[in-house]
Amino acid sequence: MTKKILIALALGILSGFFVMPDSVYDNTGLLMDIGLCLLLFFVGLDLGSNKDIFKNLRNLGFRILIVPIGTILGSLTGGLICSLIFKIDIFGALAIASGMSWYTLSAIIITPISSELGTIAFLSNVFREVIAFVAIPFIAKNIGYLETIAAGAAISMDTGLPMITKNTNSEVAVISFISGVILSLAVTVLVPIFVGFMV
């Protein structure tokens, strides 16, 4: 699976760079939205065919919140580590880490304060999305199902959801959607807070 993903991604990047005319770019957003909606519909079909999902999730209750909470705390710890590695402003690093794969929003909020950190935020969150896509099959097989949600963070409710569903099961797909919504909301709160503390 990972190999096929890498091949599809590499073919896309190469054709985007060498083959596609500029006019194609404007339509890719619409194509992605249509593809994503189709995928989510099929994920819904999958969920509906499993009668025990909600009974199983009810047993877990609030314990499923460990996924978004663990993901947020892990990302912020990662930001602190990176601020030490690269010797950059601690709140800037936390703002970048709080993007949690939502590259457009984090970059837009950070760029007016620091264009360099805004670009890092943009690129690092693009990379995190790509890393998640490539690593999810490996993580599901070798580490655990819930950890697949932590890898992509905010994309767990949209672009990452089909990939997570394909490599885990219906219960984890529902946890993924709920976690993705919570994480996306967290991005909108955390990034502006840390940007406010940046010097």
């Binding site: 896309g12 190469l14 985007g16 760079f17 596609m20 770019y25 890719t28 957003g29 992605m32 593809g35 909606c37 995928l39 989510l40 099929f42 994920v43 819904g44 079909l45 999958d46 969920l47 509906g48 065919s49 877990l60 314990r63 460990i66 996924v67 663990g70 993901t71 947020i72 892990g74 990302s75 710890t77 990662g78 930001g79 580590i81 880490a97 949690m100 670009t119 890092i120 943009f122 690129l123 690092s124 693009v126 990379f127 995190r128 790509v130 890393i131 896509f133 993580i139 655990g144 199902y145 819930l146 949600i149 890898a151 409710m157 949209d158 569903t165 394909k166 219960e171 984890v172 959607f177």
Partner: protein
């Protein structure tokens, strides 16, 4: 963003409703996995096209690519580590954890 979340939730719920009421054709349900794979790879391809055509990404990779890659790897790894540590203590249902204890 709220509209987008509602849209995604609505589409998921529509699929769930149709399937749970048994209104899907048996052959379609057998093909769901294959259809998902085809659309998924198409989506990843388009994501690649967007990256390949995005000048902001391409020009900044040379300048700060390594720093951004380290940020992505460290934040993703720490998130995985935190969730792993928490679920080891809190969740024992192997159906949810993927057979891992």
């Amino acid at each position: 963003m709220a509209l987008r979340i509602l849209l995604y939730f609505g589409i998921l719920a529509l699929g769930w409703y149709i399937s749970s009421k048994g209104k899907t054709h048996g052959n379609l349900m057998k093909q769901v996995s294959s259809i998902q794979s085809i659309i998924l790879f198409g989506l990843i391809f388009i994501m690649g096209v967007r990256i390949g055509m995005d000048e902001q990404i391409l020009t900044s990779i040379g300048q700060i690519g390594v720093m951004a890659a380290v940020f992505a790897l460290v934040t993703a790894s720490m998130s995985i580590l935190f969730v792993y540590a928490a679920r080891k203590k809190i969740i024992s249902d192997t159906n949810i954890t993927g057979g891992k204890k």
